[in-house]
């Protein structure tokens, strides 16, 4: 249990910190996967909407108009690259895949939360 190992030469601290998993970029690949599957549906004759477009400029404007929040210029395109495919994919899915599914409304949960808030004096 005591075999030593040397520190890892050649990789700086900044790089070490960047070496992490589970960022949004991986999620985007998953979304792209779904979008590809939907494109396959389209080839088989299932209609698919063109879908909305999201640019870095729109990201900046939405941040400012809806959230009173100034995005960094350097981030806007990256955010558009994450949110854009998501919105377009939902646009396509909603046309066909979700029609028979009821909304996940849980009155019991609302009652429970209200009781909890009452107990806390909220």
């Amino acid at each position: 249990m005591a075999r030593g190992r040397q520190p890892h030469a050649g990789i700086g601290r900044r790089e070490l910190l960047r070496a992490s998993f589970l960022g949004g970029s991986a999620l985007i690949t998953g979304i792209a996967f779904v979008a590809t599957a939907l494109a396959g549906d389209e080839k088989q004759g299932v209609p698919r909407g063109e879908g909305p477009k999201l640019s870095g400029q729109v990201v900046e404007q939405v941040g400012r108009a809806f959230f009173d929040y100034e995005m960094l210029d350097s981030d806007c395109e990256a955010i558009a690259g994450r949110a854009g495919p998501t919105i377009r994919t939902w646009h396509s899915i909603a046309l066909r895949h979700l029609a028979p599914i009821d909304p996940p409304f849980d009155f019991g949960l609302i009652c429970t939360e209200a009781e909890r808030l009452t107990r806390k004096g909220g």
């Binding site: 249990m1 998993f21 589970l22 999620l27 690949t29 979304i31 996967f33 955010i79």
Partner: protein, 467 residues
């Protein structure tokens, strides 16, 4: 410590350590000092802890020894040193969430899961490393104990590393996209994401309220069951906490798999490395040879898991972080900041549709579980990557890797809320752990644990990490 070497104590499973503590073959104080010494000696390289609570641990251990000596044994965790992912509230103890935003935060109360474990006499060794708020990058390096040049997986990286490296006997982790199961798979421990609502989320820093799960990360299936016996159950402080009766999770462990029906998830059986594929096949053969019925099943909607998980997490995480994001943007790392800002772009309509879509996946999963007791897949597609290789990839390659090799296996079951466990199956030729995922019906962790325990017994012990 009669007849026991201190370092041997560090390798004990909770069940073994507990019996020796109860029989007073070893004291909690000695055990705790052994853990603290080992952490001090080696955690600089692995980075599993953010905060080590030496004095608290010593006080907990001394009290446990007094109580056990007086015949007041509280249960299997009495005197056992554990660690907590640093997004789990601990009263008066730093709880950073792995972020500069909470660098000085000391909660005023304990998370319910930890409070339950503490009430059973567990010893708190410290708070364990994680990706920033379980959603960004690592602020402190964390490495795989089987090879410190490899990634540990995330976001419960610290808990997995500490459990495997002998730096705590067991840990509590959290899982919103796979954050218990992925590091467990990459580092070689057992990680159980219970059913949504089975373990209270109260006092755990939220990531996505409707998909956050709290669960055990342990060295054995039995230890996971033992911890579930303590932390599971209704909590009036968590509105999403379930009133479903809590069984004795250890009761079914010896039930075996004869007659158990196992469904191999077709959609998660491709794109595997050769060794992962072989190890998975061997695991299935073991189950079948012990009397389980093993056959392929299909859940086509699994492909929507990533979309649903991303949409829900972006929005719910933003809801929690919005005020801090406005006031302290520069205290967030770039990766989590981009995720949170992306949440601003998601229409309410799409969040709503994502929540509706969860029922679609669960319906298909439950359809397969009408004829099967559990579903199985590989835990991840490959062994842990070298940090150096990962850093050389461009963003697209990293994204492709993260999804295809890891998240596609785990994310769907955060959306469905089903219990899902990662259990090591083998060590690959590069010496790194390979894992299998076992998924059950909602609130049927007992069957997941039963199958896992049976498999674990057939598999036999794996070589410990070379540290």
């Amino acid at each position: 410590m009669t007849g026991l070497r201190l370092q041997e104590v560090l390798t004990f499973e909770v069940a073994t350590l507990s019996s020796k503590l109860r029989a007073r073959e070893v004291s909690s104080a000695e055990t705790t000092e052994a853990y603290l010494d080992w952490i001090s000696e080696r955690d600089g390289e692995l980075g599993s802890y953010i905060t080590v609570t030496q004095e608290r641990a010593r006080a907990d251990a001394a009290r446990a020894d007094r109580e056990i000596a007086a015949g007041d044994w509280r249960g299997p965790f009495h005197g056992v040193p554990v660690g907590l992912k640093d997004n789990v509230y601990t009263k008066g103890i730093l709880t950073t969430g792995g972020s500069k935003v909470l660098a000085d935060f000391r909660p005023g109360f304990d998370a319910t899961a930890w409070a339950k474990l503490a009430s059973q006499g567990a010893v708190l060794l410290g708070k364990l490393n994680l990706n920033e708020f379980a959603y960004g990058g690592l602020r402190k390096k964390c490495r795989n104990p089987y090879d410190p040049e490899r990634l540990p997986g995330g976001s419960s990286a610290g808990p997995a590393v500490a459990v495997v490296a002998g730096m705590c006997a067991a840990a509590i982790g959290t899982d919103t996209s796979g954050s218990i199961r992925l590091p467990a798979a990459q580092c070689g421990c057992v990680g159980l994401k219970p059913t949504y609502g089975r373990v209270s989320r109260f006092g755990v820093i939220p990531l996505a309220y409707t998909m956050d799960h709290v669960g055990p990360m342990t060295r054995s299936v039995q230890d996971a069951a033992l911890m579930m016996n303590v932390i599971a159950g209704f909590d009036e402080n968590d509105s999403t906490s379930s009133r479903e009766p809590v069984p004795d999770f250890t009761a079914a462990l010896a039930g075996g798999v004869r007659g158990i029906r196992v469904g191999i998830i077709r959609e998660l059986s491709d794109g595997l490395s050769d060794e992962v594929s072989r190890a998975f096949a061997v695991a299935l053969t073991l189950l079948a040879s012990s009397g389980a019925y093993v056959e392929e099943v299909s859940i086509p909607s699994l492909e929507f898991g990533a979309l649903i998980n991303a949409t829900v997490t972006w929005v719910e995480a933003l809801d929690y972080h919005e005020r801090w994001l406005r006031e302290r943007r520069n205290d967030y790392g770039r990766e989590i900041r981009l995720n949170l800002e992306t949440g601003m772009m998601i229409p309410a309509l799409d969040y709503f549709r994502a929540q509706r879509g969860r029922a679609r996946i669960l319906a298909e999963a439950l359809g397969t579980l009408r004829d099967h007791d559990v579903l199985v897949s590989p835990g991840v597609a490959t062994t842990a990557l070298k940090v150096r290789d990962y850093l050389r990839m461009d963003d697209k390659a990293k994204a492709d890797l993260g999804y295809r090799n890891q998240l596609r296996f785990t994310q769907p079951f955060n959306a469905t809320g089903q219990p899902a466990m990662a259990i090591p199956t083998a060590l690959a030729s590069d010496g790194l752990p390979i894992s299998m995922q076992i998924v059950g019906r909602p609130f049927d962790e007992a069957t997941v644990l039963r199958v896992a325990a049976s498999y674990e017994a057939m598999r036999g012990p794996l070589s410990p990490p070379p540290i």
